[in-house]
Amino acid sequence: MLSNIEERFRSHQGPLTESLVRSPGKFGLGQVPVNVSPDATTSSVCGYCSTGCSLKIHLKDGQAVNLTPDPGYPVNRGMACPKGWEALTPLAATDRALQPQIRETRGGDLKPLDWTGAAQHFCERIQSIQEAHGKDSVAFLSTGQICTEEMALLGALAKFGMGMTHGDGNTRQCMATAVRAYKESFGFDAPPYTYADFEESDVIVLIGSNLCVAHPIMWQRVLNNPNSPEIIVVDPRMTETAMQATQHVPLRPKSDLALFYGIANRLIQKGMIDQDYIDRHTSKFEAFAAFVGQFDLEKTLEVSGLPADDFERLVDKIGMGQRVSFWWTMGVNQGHEATRTAQAIINLALMTGNMGRPGTGANSITGQCNAMGSRLFSNTTCLPAGRAYSNEADRQYVAETLGIDESCIQTEPGWAYDQIIDGIESGKIKALWVIATNGAHSWIDQNRFRRLMGKLDFLVVQDIYSSTDTAEYADLILPAAGWGEKEGTFINSERRIGLNKKVRYAPGEALSDYSIFRLLGAAWGGLDWLERWHSPEAAFQMLKKLSIGQPCDFSGITDYSMIDESGIQWPFPSPNDGDFDQERRLFEDGAFYTSDQRAKFVWDLPVPPPETVSARFPLELITGRGSSGQWHTQTRTGKSEILNKINPKTNYVEVNPADALEMDLQSEELVEVMSRRGKCVVRCVVTPNVSRGQVFMPMHFVETNRLTLGAFDPHSRQPSYKHCAVRIRKQVEK
């Protein structure tokens, strides 16, 4: 009886219980929290990485209130990583840039002004600097984070309209190597794969790629592979992905090029090559074979530090696999001889005939959500749609399509990112326009970058936040709308063009980057041809036209609504009968984009990294992605409390236990990490997952790039983030 009385005092219902009630999902959703139950849904491609997942946006009165991964999209099949799940949260951050802001004196406070004033200030300052120092004294640094239409408009406006000769993107930091390697080897920047290849391989070789953390949804495709594939991870560290591998190849840092030549040599020795494929579809193999002869077993093992058995096992798996796919990411791209390394991987795929068939390919996994759009349409390293500045026909076609005077088009590409930074040092670059990137955090040898920002006469930062590391140096801040607050397309890693939609009100007077470019163009004066760019979709139609006849031809896509459902991979030329496969790979016919339609073997002698360890700096520093909840410089992911919960709270350095013992370091204590360029104090994590003599730091915290060395691949001019020499000292408590 007492129990019955007690039971009466228990509340199973009430306002607190009701606040968590879920309602049955409509629109194909499962149960959803009742307070954010949608009255409509739509979908949008995620704005973080290049996987290009589609997110189903839950709308209430037209505005996004929640999202779930889109189960019907061929890329992600109802899954997303934490960043995607939290894509809406950073839009509501309190440090959004709400109106244009001007800093009248260096180091002074920012003062708000209206768009008219901002546009006037922008044009007056840039034009006066150009008058004094030449048109090419003003450069822009763009991004892989904005829509293709936006970067195309920026490229057209800045170069053809404002006469800036030099402009580059932060894609230089991630994908330039792949671009350069593909162009030379295949004749066009064309990642050949489709994600289905992950599912169809019997051997998957991941090189310098921590797929589990960097591209979790691609890893999902690996696990969907029904063939119990061999998964080989080539990485100096025991990463999350290496943990999942059937073979982890812990090569010495920067021994990759020699290792791949050694593998090529061994494959030739063992007769594990596809001579028929080589003969019919490639060029320069004989010379390549002769070259790799010098990378005998002994030399390869010595350089890479691998045991002979492991090496032989690796060679045999590659040689005997029926469908071998090679995948690489930043571990390759961010090296001092990165282009040749990427091409050494391409060479392996070509010589074993692992190309153009299901489950094969030499496949560069892209970084940013629209790095692929930037590679084709940013008008930095090439004219739109991969056309060449040096080609007169291309210049003519671009001029005609955009309605501009051909004389506006330069005949050489402008400077790369590092050359622009050098240009500031040498006094040739006086003003810089930075769009949606955070170089004061992410650029290599950060202290120098920051010093040079201070040397500029005029720095414009266009971003969704006014609080980025780079914005601290800005003379003018232009407030941009973010992902979800604007419309346009992204191109993902497997060349799939996907759609972004406007599902949130931008705060304050923030405008889409597209609108900002339009209004600056209008304020600049005399650029009547910009009228053709009256909307993102109008731009899309022009980009289609620009792509005609190019390998990336997507003129068969009628309009945005056609790519709404599943996205469409390029190539998709017109005419087409509308009946096409959602997963298409390139080079199935063995015809490449080179003039002789043959893929080319390209090679060079490996050279040692520019900074080797010494008594003073005895450790090799590797940098990389920390966790799947962190994106690059964390200007966005750092704004989500739930992502902060799953991410490491502070910067850290991973140290091998033997090294830690020698230096008397314990986990969790603060240590000073120092290179020739800078130092920082971070938390020590002692773990056997880094090898002796190596240490690892994640790139997401601002301190890391104070240490890195400004070295670049000579062909791609991509920075070599993955290697420099450092030392560590116990931090004496003050």
Binding site: L29, Q220, N689
Partner: protein
């Protein structure tokens, strides 16, 4: 340079920016789209409900988990939780030895234990173990926000929500399972690493008896009999944050409450004892004791997130030491009130008061004993029955003695309790290494205050008021250390 047409364009663009047209422009396709039910995870949840002697349980395949952590965020998003709130947590295991390369991510939610410590400890019975599913549910509207379940759960599962003033926790999305949907975390895992299984509770008890723990660094399963099963756990691994030493929550109202209730009980008891021996009871001493005690009680109510529901706290008396503590404190409070009231009524004969007062040491000791058990019941070694008895009992005696004619004797309990803290700080208890390091490190100032004021209280025993105040400060510092220097059991962190 800026002409009228540019100004017009800017106005147009600003206006356009505030138009949301996704539905208008693209709704056709989405309206017509067939409802894609998230039903690909049919084999991730059981086909049927648990039978007698069975319950639902999470099964996590650590080899399938790639460490993407989407489960944590999906729990947050699909359950409509607050900004920093998720019922899943994430941690990392790395190799324990130099030669063992391990990197495993451990996703963890409520383990829906067969013998849930949260449920047993809850004073208001705000937890229930669902008869049909075995899901440990939290009744949000029954919760008074005392946060005791946070101390009781050795896995850090229940989490206090400051905005709401209550604790919330994972309910295994049982409402989803009932509809044939998978829980949020299960739905969100790209690698199907989290599954719901039906397990036999007897088997859980059996496994727990042999002293295993869920993952390295976690407490023995014997404490709560958790139901989660981690598959493919790497051997020789440890939590990546195992060397991280952070002070625990200070629970300041509880610091206050413990010291003042113990002081109040001590003073009340000794005012009665002194009265017995001297045949005259001191009203003023009793009032001081009563005031001390009641100010302690105020502290206990203040720390609640839902103080208006505090009256429900007797409901858990069958299993909850906190509930018993509240009942005993209430009874002692009532008795103190009667005692003081009788003292104020002049005509009441002293022997009658003496007889009534005899209940004071009985109820008072019982109340302090419940305090001892409230914390020892969390199974944290720092809060063992013996140590808590020494701490709380000595405090009660010392305060009472100082306020009595035998104040010199207070040096004995003060010294006894002080020796315990000194011993811990000097590392006499290897199992309390974390506490030792905290007391010598981040909590050094608190520790020094504790020691110096205790010594001063003894030196000043000739001046009882000075000594009493000094001891109050000392014991407040001691309880501060009591909460902050305790090692909190947990699952691996990041």
């Amino acid at each position: 340079m800026i002409n009228e047409s540019v100004r017009t364009l800017i106005d147009e663009l600003l206006e356009d920016q505030q138009q949301l047209t996704a539905v208008e422009r693209f709704s056709k396709f989405h309206d017509e789209a067939p409802a894609v039910t998230p039903g690909t995870y049919r084999d991730l949840i059981p086909l049927g409900a648990p039978k007698e002697g069975e319950q639902y349980a999470f099964e996590v395949d650590l080899d399938a988990c790639s460490g993407c952590k989407a489960c944590v965020v999906a729990c947050h998003s699909l359950n409509g939780l607050d900004e920093s709130e998720s019922w899943r947590d994430i941690g990392t295991l790395i190799g324990e030895k130099a030669e063992a390369q391990v990197h495993q991510t451990v996703t963890t939610a409520c383990h829906h234990c067969a013998d849930p410590a949260c449920l047993n400890g809850c004073p208001t019975r705000a937890y229930e173990k669902d008869k049909d599913t075995g899901v440990v549910r939290h009744l949000d509207d029954q919760c008074i926000g005392c946060r005791y379940c946070e101390l009781k759960c050795p896995y850090g599962v229940p989490k206090y929500n400051e905005r709401l003033g209550i604790v919330r926790k994972c309910d295994m999305c049982h409402g989803r399972i009932a509809q044939g949907e998978a829980p949020a975390c299960v739905q969100a895992c790209p690698n199907e690493a989290i599954k719901i299984r039906v397990v036999k509770t007897a088997a859980l008890h059996e496994v727990s008896r042999i002293g295993v723990s869920l993952v390295p660094g976690a407490v023995s399963n014997g404490i709560t009999v958790p139901s989660t099963n981690y598959l493919n756990l790497s051997k020789n691994s440890k939590a990546i944050d195992s060397e991280s030493i952070e002070p625990a929550h200070s629970h300041l109202p509880l610091v206050w409450m413990l010291v003042f209730t113990q002081a109040g009980v001590g003073v009340m008891i000794f005012s009665w004892l002194a009265g017995l021996t001297q045949s005259s009871f001191s009203l003023s001493t009793a009032i001081v004791g009563g005031l001390l005690f009641f100010s302690g009680l105020v502290g206990s109510v203040l720390h609640l997130g839902q103080p208006l529901k505090a009256w429900k706290a007797f409901l858990g008396w069958r299993t909850s030491w906190l509930s018993r503590e509240i009942i005993c404190f209430g009874a002692f409070g009532g008795l103190s009130f009667v005692f003081i009231f009788l003292l104020m009524l002049k005509p009441v004969p002293p022997h009658f008061i003496g007889a009534i007062g005899a209940l004071l040491p009985v109820l008072g000791s019982l109340a302090v004993w419940t305090s001892v058990r409230v914390y020892s019941d969390t199974r944290r070694p720092f809060w063992s029955v013996g140590k808590n008895s020494l701490r709380f009992g000595c405090a009660m005696l010392a305060f009472g003695l100082i306020a009595s004619p035998w104040s010199g004797l207070a040096a004995i309990p003060i010294t006894a309790a002080l020796l315990l803290d000194l011993a811990i700080a000097k590392g006499a208890f290897p199992e309390l290494d974390t506490s030792t390091r905290l007391m010598n490190g981040q909590l050094r100032v608190g520790y020094l205050v504790r020691v110096l004021t205790a010594v001063f209280a003894m030196v000043a025993l000739g001046f009882p008021v000075v000594s009493f105040v000094s001891l109050l400060v000392s014991e407040l510092a001691a309880r501060y250390l009591f909460f902050r220097a305790v090692e909190e059991p947990s699952m691996p962190g990041v």
